[in-house]
Symmetry: C2
């Protein structure tokens, strides 16, 4: 599965996303469908987050770990019914893992990858655009809630969610035949809103602290190291529970970092050094880009406990030389 | 992962493979390593074949099924030690499934994908070529047995196996840095043996009845339908055991089929019809090609019980018209 990383340029896409509205083909977010009497039990097994209070119209961000407490994926799960969930996977595969768990425990649940391709509508004008296709009810969808709304007689599951901080929706296109009619209807309706095709924008997601599984955090990290400890509160049995209990006080964590000066594209991890080279390597930068709005290089870094406090001055070893950097108290958005 | 399907042409590659020796880069056969006290238990859970008598220098063809008794993959498993196996996967993924099973049951086993890339040496002169790099001991490796043999000081695991009926070996290159030195040493040593780069050959594998997972049989089929019932004899607990017991008398099965006349490339499934159109569709052809040695079109087809007996005359609906065909008693090799 492929996902574009930019259309015009990172900065042009960024300005457009923060001002107008974009349509993103995020079909790569494949759905793993869990359906059956044991679906809730399986979701709970697969997730350190407490799922017991999840409403039937709710979506949850759902970090998942393996038995060793290491990140497996960080999907969004959508609850369709008491016994039916769609897990919208992030960068990586997950279907077979869920099949293996269900088969090993002989759970009463069908684990399948249905023909569902999410289409994201993102940006401050997303709601105005959605109303034109789906009617005023689109405005009533709460954050991380979903509804079924009709377009030309077909009822689509639509959630207020998406991989940006600009607001927007994800339409779960549950039949490939609807993809192009929907796409074309959006463009027919959105011209005065400056609608464009787009994709997750690296600058905007770093500003907003939206992590990328596979780069900012990987299968080498615990959710605590990824700053996702608040999602690890389930009292139910889940895979990795014992390992997570032992990992709750991490020695490194993802932190927002501002980097000074001009930087090259961050196409490889950059070592993070204690200022003056005194303490050697204390972490690494996984994502970085110039932010036009915040007039600094915004970055995400995995930083050792000794150096992760806000205001700590560090040095980044880019592949184009050393740069000064400062740990931030919070993300920019 | 990609695998070539031909180099010069299907027929030129075929003649070369049956006469000389070829080197195949089959790195796509990724290894799933199971290592630990519960490794044997996990292998047995994952496989309907009885693993209890497997020797420490043995390889097994190992059809795998899910809980519903449907094919998951058909790898070859290599036993490295009492508590260590490599599963050499066929077309498809399998690592995450094994991780899911191990995590769900909290088995004491590490499930990993090591840096191991099989390199196949196939053809009637394979042994003569192997001896030049690895010494006379290569001749002593029995069929589906393995040994560690040295090349320039590195001990490689070498098995007498491979996806052809011409004889040969698979070298498990357990460090990418060795791949090119090995490849170049083979070509330096094999010129007078007419060594060429190659790949599994569709004509040769159909003649020999070597099935292709994902086309001849898929996750829709049981091993009994794939003609692999003789591997489903384990008395141990394994995933899908109950489902397989209920599937032991299949109503369709893969059969060798000879097709008359000229046929186009079989790039899609062809319906198989009862002769004269009397009984409607009775199966489908999944692989077919002209065999220069047997002077007929050799084919594999999934055929209904009513029409699978040797000698049964059928009609194939190719995308270039109808052809007569006859069920064969056995494969051609």
């Amino acid at each position: 599965m492929l996902l574009p990383t930019m259309f015009e340029s990172l900065e042009a896409d960024y300005h457009h996303l923060k001002r107008h509205v974009q349509l993103w083909d995020v079909a790569c977010q494949r759905q793993v469908s869990l359906h059956g009497a044991d679906a809730l039990r399986l979701v709970q097994l697969l997730c350190p987050r407490d799922m017991s209070a999840m409403a039937l119209d709710q979506c949850y961000y759902m970090p998942m770990v393996n038995r060793r407490g290491k990140m497996l994926n960080d999907p969004v799960v959508v609850r369709l019914a008491a016994d039916h969930f769609w897990i919208s996977v992030a960068d990586g595969d997950f279907w077979q893992y869920a099949c293996g768990v269900a088969d090993a425990l002989d759970l009463d649940v069908a684990v399948e990858e249905p023909d569902v391709s999410p289409l994201a509508v993102q940006g401050p004008r997303a709601e105005d655009l959605m109303v034109r296709l789906f009617g005023d009810s689109a405005r009533d969808i709460g954050f991380f809630r979903h509804r079924r709304l009709s377009f030309e007689g077909h009822r689509f599951l639509i959630a207020r969610s998406g991989y940006s901080r600009q607001g927007g929706f994800e339409i779960y296109v549950d039949d490939s035949a609807w993809a192009m009619p929907l796409w074309e209807a959006f463009f027919a309706a959105g011209e005065d809103l400056h609608l464009r095709a787009g994709c997750p924008n690296m600058i905007e997601r770093i500003e907003g602290g939206l992590l990328s599984f596979g780069s900012d955090m990987t299968s080498a990290h615990t959710p605590f190291e990824a700053g996702l400890g608040r999602y690890c509160t389930s009292r139910a049995d889940f895979i990795g529970k014992a390992a997570l209990r032992a990992a709750a006080a991490p020695r490194q964590m993802i932190r927002p970092l501002a980097i000074e000066g001009r930087i090259p594209p961050c196409d490889r991890p950059w070592p993070l050094l204690a200022a003056g080279g005194a303490g050697g390597v204390v972490g690494q930068v996984s994502s970085a880009a110039w932010s036009p709005d915040f007039r600094t290089n915004v970055a995400l870094a995995m930083v050792a406990h000794s150096h992760w406090h806000a205001g700590t001055k560090l040095e980044v070893e880019t592949h184009d030389g050393m740069r000064w950097a400062t740990i931030q108290a919070r993300f920019w958005l």
